[in-house]
């Protein structure tokens, strides 16, 4: 490092380190300097020296499979993809007006949304630090727009607080913080924290609590202009004769605690949920479509894999054309398998016993999304809500307002449910019609005057009943990670698994892509050794 003169910019320095020490050294240096700690993406994989004619069969055309096919083709491999569905993209998917969707059990929905409106059944938001996905979105020409993740003006609703009346996030969160600040201030002033704090620290902390919690001069959180500056006003500041604001009244702290608003506050602190977030213009499915444009000629659709076998000569995958019923076998030197584990677990194979056990050890989560189309944007026009989520402790979990085409006339789609856990089990067990009815009933707590009046039509996707995944995402826990994760991601002779299930960024597209890059990098090494 001494050779680097003092006039060198940080970027030049990092480039120099990268040239000398390779990507790992660069990454370590960047991390030390406060850069790049948010991602494990170091650019597209460098797969040099592929043997001429070497072939790879990719199973599944979700993002992991398509990225593997794209990068391996670029590296010189002969690549083919087998896909169960007539559509590429996997869980990256949007439903539009006219689409027909049949779930397990046979219930069929014809989506009735107006042109341009959509429901994203799976992924719907992209964190700013999901650098792999953002890289390929740019490379493949996917236009992105902001996803409005955090809306102070949206609501929190608890059946157990405030008589079931929803409150603005802004007011409940401000009242929670204000009361916590007041209580902590009391503890400081009653010398309860003397063992932990120096006199100087105590002064600083009291100042912090006064500012953060908008406390009055006596360190109390009370109704007034100070607390209203966070929680909103009874009459907001204006101009002229009645310009003076009228403060709002703080909520009872017991009610604030009953609302459990800290769950929602903490949610926004989660690294994956932090702003800025993005969505593709025109629906999340645009990403799958853009990936498919790169690899479409390689994909065989309607191919249901029935057997995976490998031996010293290569990999043989038996599959059935779901349209014609014709059985075929595809052969290749190597295989990247992105089939969801719950499905893969039921496919006959001769993978190593340890890998088979790992595949069978990871269950899948459930999740339900419901799109409700309304005739007008009453949430914008009547409630000044522009994107963001209103949370509830009912089964629907939340409703989320559209982030695009703001201020326009005409119909728009609200996400009428994003349920998980018990709420999702209950909604999944219903018919599509019952789900819509339940979503309307529960969502009406936020917009009682308009929700049913302005409703036009709706569609739902319950992931436990999605025919090609039988679930939403792989559910790891500490035990299964410890026991099976490394086995699951290891190259098993000629086969390697990839997908969100083979990552620590589970249930995100970024996890699928990072897993894919890692898998094909190691498979390439294996191929070079062959």
């Amino acid at each position: 490092m001494q050779a680097v003169n003092s006039g060198t910019t940080r970027r030049q320095l990092l480039t120099a380190i990268g040239l000398v020490g390779g990507a790992a050294a660069l990454y370590q240096a960047m991390t030390t300097m406060g850069h790049a700690a948010e991602t494990q993406f170091h650019g597209p994989p460098k797969l040099d020296g592929a043997k001429p004619g070497a072939s790879v069969l990719v199973l599944g055309s979700g993002l992991a499979g398509m990225l593997a096919a794209y990068e391996l083709s670029k590296a010189g491999y002969q690549v083919k993809i087998l896909e169960y569905q007539p559509r590429a993209g996997g869980r990256n998917w949007s439903l539009y007006g006219g689409d027909i969707y049949t779930e397990l059990g046979g219930a069929t929905q014809k989506v009735g949304f107006a042109a341009g409106n959509y429901l994203n059944p799976g992924p719907w938001r992209i964190p700013h630090h999901h650098r792999t996905l953002l890289h390929y979105c740019k490379a493949f020409g996917v236009q992105l727009e902001p996803f409005i993740q955090f809306n102070h003006n949206a609501y929190v609703h608890s059946t157990k607080a405030f008589g079931g009346q929803p409150k603005h996030f802004r007011e409940v969160a401000a009242d929670f913080e204000g009361n916590v600040a007041e209580l902590l201030g009391k503890a400081v002033n009653q010398k309860a924290l003397d063992a932990d704090l120096t006199a100087e620290d105590k002064e600083k902390l009291l100042e912090a609590l006064r500012n953060w919690g908008v406390l009055d001069k006596d360190m109390r959180y009370v109704s007034g202009l100070q607390s209203s500056s966070h929680r909103g006003y009874e009459r907001p500041p204006g101009g002229g004769v009645n310009g003076a604001p009228i403060p709002s009244t703080v909520l009872d702290f017991g009610g604030v605690l009953d609302s459990r608003v800290w769950n929602n506050m903490a949610f926004f602190m989660n690294h994956e949920m932090q702003t800025t977030m993005f969505q593709p213009v025109g629906g999340m499915g645009m990403i799958g479509k853009a990936f498919a444009r790169q690899v479409q000629p390689l994909i065989t659709h309607n191919a249901k894999v029935t057997q995976i076998r490998q031996d010293k000569a290569g990999v043989a995958v038996a599959w059935t054309d779901t349209q014609s019923g014709m059985a075929s076998v595809s052969k290749a030197d190597f295989c990247v398998c992105t089939i969801p584990l719950g499905v893969l677990n039921q496919i006959e194979n001769n993978l190593s016993p340890a890998l088979q056990t790992a595949i069978g050890a990871v269950p899948y989560s459930n999740s339900v999304k419901i799109g409700l189309e309304f005739k007008r944007r009453f949430w914008e026009e009547d409630n000044y809500l522009y994107g963001g989520h209103s949370f509830t402790d009912q089964d629907i979990g939340l409703i989320s307002y559209p982030n695009n085409h703001l201020f326009q006339d005409g119909p728009a789609v609200v996400l009428g449910a994003f349920a998980s856990g018990m709420g999702a089990y209950r909604l999944t067990g219903m018919s599509p019609e019952e789900r819509i009815e339940t979503a309307l009933t529960q969502g009406s707590v936020f917009h009682p005057e308009n929700y049913r009046k302005e409703f036009s039509n709706g569609a739902s996707v319950a992931w436990s009943r999605v025919p090609w995944t039988l679930g939403c995402c792989a559910r790891w826990n500490e035990e299964t990670r410890k026991e099976h994760y490394q086995t699951l991601v290891a190259v098993d002779d000629r086969v390697v698994l990839a997908g969100e299930h083979a990552s620590y960024v589970g249930c995100w597209m970024e996890g699928a892509l990072l897993s894919s890059i890692d898998a094909i990098t190691r498979l390439h090494q294996r191929a070079l050794e062959a």
Partner: protein, 133 residues
């Protein structure tokens, strides 16, 4: 509410900690399932369907109707408590008595005629310590 159902309800109120793309909300159990039939309707039928016929797509959700595995009470207890393949474990949200009741329900419906009830004691003995109280 029976104490064990309160315990089961509280477990579902565990705070949001996962990093997956989840709603960020916590569902309150307004009407926790009490009978075996209620457990079936609120959880099991999401995959195994209201008629117990399961489903068939890229893979199979097994039918419970006429399923020979159900002759063995241990099999269904272990499956519900610990999961099997894509099916998650439910011993984090169901108490042993709920698992026993839904096992009994499934074994006596959808054309199944295994009259001997599954008991809470059997669930505790077979599913072990991880099962919620």
């Amino acid at each position: 509410m029976k104490p064990h159902l309160i315990a089961a309800a509280l477990l579902i109120l565990a705070p949001f900690t996962a990093s997956a793309d989840e709603p960020g909300t916590v569902t309150t159990l307004h009407k926790p399932p009490v009978t075996g039939e209620e457990v079936y309707q609120q959880i099991c039928q999401s995959c195994h369907m209201a008629n117990g016929m399961g489903g068939k797509g890229a893979a199979i959700i097994p039918a419970l109707a006429g399923n020979p595995h159900l002759a063995n009470a241990d099999y269904i207890i272990i499956t519900v408590a610990k999961g099997r393949g894509a099916m998650p474990w439910f011993d984090d949200i169901l108490a042993p008595t709920q698992i026993a009741d839904v096992a009994t329900y499934v074994r006596t419906h959808f054309g199944n005629k295994y009259a001997k009830p599954v008991t809470e004691a059997e669930v505790k003995a077979i599913a072990g310590a991880k099962t919620s109280p």
